[in-house]
């Protein structure tokens, strides 16, 4: 049955026959391209400077370069299921060194947002829970509330592990490093306004046109 075998192989390539996958990818592409500088992703020359510069690439299952390659190949699913986007420590070394001026860190952030929106996460790697909880704390109190963060994080991931760490928590509490009640900052209203304003930046931006800079002299000037 050679024909069927062929078909099977084709099926493994995403989006050729699956309408859904194709649409999903299209939507993701537009979304990430709306990240400022996102359109430059098309220019990636796959040199690996990002991976080489990354201090945490050892902990990634996909290298940042592979994220770029998979992205262009349309395999968003694999990216969202990988740890890479959650491991990124935001040191921006990849962004400063990228020879194609791709804002790698920003793109990883955008992918995080996509992952949260679509609820697609790596298996057995609950860092996103920490991120989400942390963001909620800051929104609520204007600063981190450690006990609340720990409670929610471990409740959602592993209660057993929380119990295993009770000794440490007690020690911290005795030294006054762990406040049992949340403290709210002064002027929380102002902070919220700032966050609201910042969120407008996160809304889809007009798609940027990635153009060569017009030449100051060159043929452009002489017709």
């Amino acid at each position: 049955m050679p024909v069927v075998a062929d078909l099977d192989r084709v099926r493994t390539a995403p989006d050729l026959f699956e309408k859904e996958e194709c649409e999903l990818r299209e939507a993701f592409l537009t979304e990430v391209e709306r990240v400022p500088g996102g359109a430059r992703l098309r220019r990636c020359i796959q040199c690996g400077t990002c991976t080489g510069s990354c201090p945490v690439s050892y902990a990634m299952d996909l290298t940042p370069r592979e994220v770029m390659a998979l992205f262009r190949a349309g395999d968003i699913e694999r990216i969202l299921r990988s740890r890479t986007i959650w491991v990124c420590a935001s040191c921006y070394q990849c962004t400063t060194r990228c020879p194609s001026n791709i804002k790698v860190t920003d793109i990883l952030y955008a992918l995080k947002r996509v992952a949260v929106d679509r609820r697609v996460f790596p298996r057995k790697f609950p860092v996103y829970v920490l991120s989400e909880t942390f963001a909620k704390q800051v929104r609520k109190y204007g600063r981190n509330y450690e006990v609340g963060l720990l409670r929610t994080y471990f409740w959602k991931t592993s209660v057993v592990r929380m119990l295993m760490r009770t000794g440490l928590a007690l020690a911290l509490w005795r030294k006054g490093r762990l406040a049992l009640r949340p403290a709210r900052i002064k002027g929380i209203a102002g902070l919220r306004r700032m966050i609201a304003k910042a969120e407008t930046f996160d809304r889809p931006q007009p798609t940027e046109v990635d153009q060569e800079p017009t030449s100051e002299v060159g043929y452009g000037a002489i017709g």
Binding site: G48, S57, Y219
Partner: protein, 1137 residues
């Protein structure tokens, strides 16, 4: 309807380029309906022969006399269709192109709208061409001489090709030798020919051809003219070696200066006189001079300080002594008492402390006195008859006597006292300048034949008139300033109050002189210190009173320190108001305390007395040493007697011409303290020297102008603000070395003796001190090369030459430079040892290079592994976006050579391997077979390893990257990293582009006229480009371009004349108001103002028809032929309607 206009419209499909977007039929039908259009056609390729034939036929058979071709840009085919018209006997300027490809079809998608636009463009052309008139192109002859700028491989090849055809070529090169980058390479990819072996025969050939005028060390300053007739102004920097040089290399052996060699990428040293490499053409050495050392410039006698310091460093004391004597007639004296303006301007002062230049000179003269016989007086070549009288045997008079007798004049020196030396003997204490030292210098001058007449004073024993009556041709007056100033306070006439200069004179002459027990010296200058220290040696307790502070004190700091070490008390901010005496003898000084106020005219703070601070200090002798002035009584008794009058200034000094030093009396010159007031020994010597030159000119009857003797410039440090020479470290990064202190006699002992206080340097001390010299300006002018040069080819006084050359065509082949990879900090170039650039590695591989062809780490060890990084600054948005094209291949060549010559492992880090071109892919697979490791991934960073490896070696480097084919981060330990730096346009390509009116592409390289069809021409007719100045390329491509350019040049020479487009501006004289606004705006300097008719005129040969003046002219007096206002308005109207 115009019965005389027969229009033909021809619309080109350009294959499908135009017809794909624009409806051809509709356009044709539209054209047919226009007034006066007799025929309209469309055709697949109008530029093809059948297409052109259509036009010709219509012209000949149907009487078409205006042609519109709707096609591509006129840059492509305007000439084609003009020729077609000409072929059918129609004036080519009655044809107009309507660009419906670049300006319409290629930039639109909507067929309907594009067709409308095409119709409008055609309509415009029809309206315009109606108003065209016949124009005749101008003709100009082509000068067969050609200039090639840049003598790398491209320039050399083109020059040879043009010269081979028998035409003169000017080959202009900025460096001292031709050869460019290729001369620095070892092997060339992919064939592995030795670069030198294939380049040097061509270089030699350039040197041998009589019709190649080689201009090295030369740069283009200005270009005027047009194709066939350029005038280029060239500046040739002085080489300081004439072509008589036989390249024997003797000079290199004696040159004491070593600086980093830029030809070797600073990996090795070179001497100040050098030849870049063995096969250099021209085969002439060159001296690198980047300005004169500040120490030499600051010296009034132009002493070659940096020169003898360099020789001391090398331990060549005998040569150094001879050099000191070259400019200095009083070297022993200067070594002791000169106030060394050289040290104030010494560049080393910017690092730590200035060199002890004066002490070094003293060391030399001491060494000479100890080790050499007394030097023979120099040979005097030419004897003269006119005699010169010199009044005063001080430093000014002695210098003038020395210089004049060297020139052959019989010189008589009249001295008022019985001792020679003037202030040197009378004013300077023996502990500073022993008398036998003074006599050594004077003896030398006496030996030259100078006659000394002691005990005869001008105005007392003879007059100026007497001298001229005795037959002297000229007189130099250097009588000094020997009269002390008064304090103008009560009690000055008391016994025990004397002037410092009188006190010193009496002591020095051994006359009767009382010294008190408690002596006050008033003043803060050098005379005050000398008087104080002398009084101290006479056993007195001495106090110096000075009315300002230490900072304002004019005395030398060393002198003051010595004085205080000898127990002399100094009271600053103390001024005497009266001298109090007991009857006729001094008993005390009444003083007040001062404070500093605003700065006065001399820049020093004016002292102001503090109220209620008066007090009395007990003294039994007061020495006034506030200043001196000349004793000018003699001028009353000895005037010019008909030759003019001596004029005195209000300081009693003689007024002289500042250049010639001639006084008001003709033939009488003056210098030294009698002119300048009390100054330094070396300043007086400088004036003596200038006066000697002036007297020589005067006696030869030459005008007293154009003097060549040195005057220190206002800022001797000019040009040395940042670093001593181009390739030196800046001062801030130069390692500090403390100044060598000269040993001194113990202060407790020295106050009881007249022995010299300073004991002099040992040889080791002198050499250590001399090694602190930074060799300002590279060549320090020790003149050793001049001494050893047998063919007498070294000429240190050469100057830059500016030449104008007339040529017909110019080829620019100025090449590239390497990106400075310091910009990519992650690779650590310049910070980490053993991270080298490609050119450095190339020199290291070269058998004539700094390591003799061995690949060595900085510590001299052989590297175990070498990493080669591709694309350093290329294909990188942060640096250069383009691919540098040659890096992949030379990186592979490096890999091959390293594998061949060493045991090191090679790692290549590439992004994409670009091995195109003949033999390149084969070379790639050869290198792969040889076993070098290649990793696909750009190196992210190079970091020094913190660990010690298993063999106990540390200091290796880690290269971090992603191996992208495996998808893993890797860290590879190597001993050496080679960076394949991007090729980039030369830093000065902007100014060169301006000079030749060239355009540059966005990457900065020169822009060719067309990237595919005319890659060697530029937008400026008659100026061509070849080699890497046009874009990165390898040697075969550079040579091919050079040969293509040469054939273009030869083609035009063979044709003999150029047609110049008649699209030119003309000025209607009647309307021109003579405002000259057009003169200023013309980019080609083609418009000049005729003063007589008061109108501007256009030089038709220079005008390029750009139209700037047309739009500028407020009177509308300028019209551009082929672009008249009527034509443009008609075209616009027809396009818009």
């Amino acid at each position: 309807m115009d019965p005389d206009v027969h229009l033909g419209v021809y619309i080109c499909h350009c294959g499908v380029n135009i017809s794909h977007t624009v409806d051809m039929d509709e356009c044709r039908q539209f054209a047919e309906q226009r007034t006066d259009v007799r025929v309209a056609r469309d055709f697949k390729f109008m530029c093809s022969d059948p297409g052109q034939e259509l036009i010709k036929q219509d012209i000949q058979e149907r009487g078409i006399n205006r042609v519109v071709v709707a096609c591509c840009t006129p840059l492509m085919h305007e000439l084609t269709f003009r020729r077609a018209c000409q072929g059918a006997d129609l004036n080519p300027f009655l044809m107009q192109i309507a660009n419906i490809r670049e300006q319409c079809a290629w930039v639109h998608n909507n067929r309907e709208l594009a067709t409308e636009k095409a119709k409008a463009i055609i309509n415009g052309a029809i309206a315009r061409v109606r108003l065209h008139s016949e124009l005749e192109p101008m003709r100009a002859e082509v000068n067969p001489a050609t200039m090639v700028v840049g003598a790398g491989i491209a320039g050399i090849q083109a020059a040879l090709d043009v010269a081979e055809a028998g035409h003169p070529v000017y080959l202009v090169e900025r460096e001292a030798s031709i050869g460019g980058h290729m001369a620095r390479f070892d092997k060339t990819f992919p064939t592995l020919d030795c670069a030198a072996c294939i380049l040097t025969p061509k270089m030699v050939s350039i040197g041998h051809r009589p019709n190649v005028h080689l201009k090295t060390l030369t740069e283009v300053e200005d270009v005027q003219g047009f194709v066939g007739n350029f005038t280029v102004r060239l500046r040739e920097r002085a080489r300081y070696v004439t072509p008589d040089c036989t390249s024997c290399g003797e000079c290199v052996k004696v040159c004491p200066v070593q600086v980093p060699d830029t030809f070797e990428e600073k990996l090795g040293p070179k001497t100040a006189i050098h030849k870049a490499f063995a096969q250099a053409v021209p085969n002439t050495f060159r001296i690198e001079k980047q300005g004169r050392p500040p120490c030499k410039q600051a010296c009034p006698v132009h002493q070659d300080a940096a020169g003898y310091i360099a020789l001391i460093r090398e331990g060549r004391f005998r040569e150094a002594c001879a050099l000191v004597r070259r400019q200095n007639p009083l070297p022993f004296i200067c070594g002791r008492v000169c106030y060394h303006p050289c040290e104030q301007d010494c560049s080393r002062g910017n690092v730590d402390e200035p060199l002890a230049i004066q002490n070094l000179k003293r060391f030399l003269m001491d060494w000479e006195a100890k080790n050499l016989p007394r030097p023979d007086p120099p040979e005097i070549k030419e004897r003269r008859t006119q005699r010169v009288a010199i009044i005063g045997a001080g430093p000014a008079g002695l210098t003038a006597a020395h210089d004049l007798s060297l020139k052959g004049y019989p010189v008589s020196v009249y001295e008022a006292t019985d001792v020679l030396g003037g202030m040197l003997w009378l004013g300077l204490p023996a502990y500073r300048c022993p008398r036998d030292i003074v006599m050594r210098d004077i003896h030398y001058i006496e030996q030259m034949g100078v006659e000394f007449i002691r005990g005869k004073a001008l105005g007392r024993d003879f007059s100026l008139h007497d001298l001229f009556a005795q037959g002297f041709g000229a007189v130099f007056v250097g009588t000094g300033a020997h009269k002390g100033f008064d304090l103008d306070i009560p009690g000055e006439d008391l016994e025990g109050v004397e002037s410092g200069i009188d006190y010193l004179r009496n002591i020095n002459l051994g006359l009767q002189q009382r010294t008190g027990r408690r002596v006050a010296v008033i003043g803060g200058g050098n005379t005050a210190i000398d008087a104080a220290r002398t009084a101290r040696r006479e056993g007195a307790e001495v106090t110096i009173l000075y009315r300002r502070t230490l900072a304002e004190m004019p005395a030398e700091k060393e002198e003051l320190d010595d004085a205080r070490a000898e127990g002399i008390d100094v009271r600053w901010l103390t001024a005497p108001t009266a001298i109090i005496g007991d009857g006729s003898v001094v008993t005390a000084i009444r003083c007040v305390d001062m404070e500093l106020g605003e700065p006065d005219a001399s820049g020093r703070h004016r002292p102001i007395p503090k109220s209620h601070s008066e007090r009395e200090l007990p003294f039994d002798q007061v020495i006034k040493a506030i200043s001196q002035q000349p004793d000018s009584d003699w001028t009353q008794r000895s005037q010019g007697n008909g030759r003019g009058t001596l004029i005195l200034t209000r300081w009693e000094t003689l007024e002289v011409n500042p250049d010639s030093l001639q006084t008001g009396v003709e033939g009488v010159f003056a210098g030294g303290d009698v002119v300048s007031g009390p100054a330094t020994v070396v300043a007086a010597m400088g004036q003596g020297r200038r006066a000697a030159e002036a007297i020589d000119k005067y006696l030869c009857g030459s005008p007293l102008t154009d003097f060549t003797t040195h005057l220190p410039p206002p800022n001797p440090r000019e040009g040395f603000e940042e670093r001593p020479h181009e390739n030196a470290l800046p001062y801030s990064k130069t390692p500090r070395v403390p100044r060598t202190i000269m040993p001194q006699l113990d202060p407790r002992r020295r106050i009881h003796t007249d022995d010299e206080v300073n004991l002099g340097f040992t040889e080791e001390q002198a050499q250590r001190e001399a090694s602190r010299c930074l060799s300002c300006g590279v060549c320090v002018e020790c003149l050793e090369c001049q001494r050893v040069c047998e063919p007498k080819a070294v000429k240190h006084d050469m100057t830059d030459k500016v030449d104008e050359v007339k040529v017909g065509q110019v080829l620019i082949a100025t090449g590239h430079q390497l990106l400075d990879s310091r910009a990519m900090q992650q690779y650590g170039y310049g910070r980490l040892d053993n991270v080298v650039s490609s050119l450095e590695f190339e020199r290291m591989l070269n058998s004539t290079g700094p390591t003799g062809g061995e690949v060595l780490c900085k510590n001299g060890e052989k590297p175990r592994a070498i990493g080669i990084v591709h694309c350093v600054g290329s294909r990188d948005e942060n640096h250069h976006r383009y691919c540098s094209r040659v890096c992949c291949m030379y990186a592979l060549k490096f890999a091959h050579l390293v594998t061949e010559r060493t045991d090191a492992q090679v790692y290549q880090f590439y992004i994409d391997m670009r091995a195109f071109g003949k033999g390149c892919e084969e070379f790639y697979s050869r290198v792969l077979r040889e076993g070098s490791t290649i990793i696909r991934g750009k190196v992210a960073e190079v970091v020094p390893s913190q660990r010690v490896d298993h063999r106990g070696r540390n200091g290796y480097l880690l290269m971090r990257c992603e191996d992208t084919l495996v998808g893993r981060f890797r860290e590879i330990p190597v001993d050496m990293v080679v960076l394949c730096n991007a090729l980039e346009p030369r830093a000065d390509s902007v100014s060169l582009a301006q000079r030749f009116s060239l355009s540059r592409s966005p990457d900065g390289f020169f822009l060719e006229r067309h990237p595919k069809l005319d890659p060697i021409s530029t937008m400026n007719d008659g100026v061509y480009i070849a080699g890497t100045c046009q874009g990165p390329k390898d040697i075969p491509d550079s040579v091919a371009q050079a040969q293509a350019a040469a054939s273009r040049i030869l083609g035009l020479i063979a044709k003999g004349e150029v047609l110049i487009d008649p699209i030119r501006a003309t000025i209607e004289e009647k309307s021109c108001s003579g405002c000259r606004m057009c003169n200023a705006v013309c980019p080609y300097h083609a418009i000049t103002f005729e003063r007589e008719q008061s109108v501007s005129k256009v030089n038709q040969a220079l005008c390029k028809g750009c139209g700037t003046c047309v739009s500028t002219c407020p009177a509308g007096a300028i019209a551009g032929a082929g672009f008249t206002d009527d034509q443009l308005e008609a075209e616009l109207e027809a396009v818009l309607v």
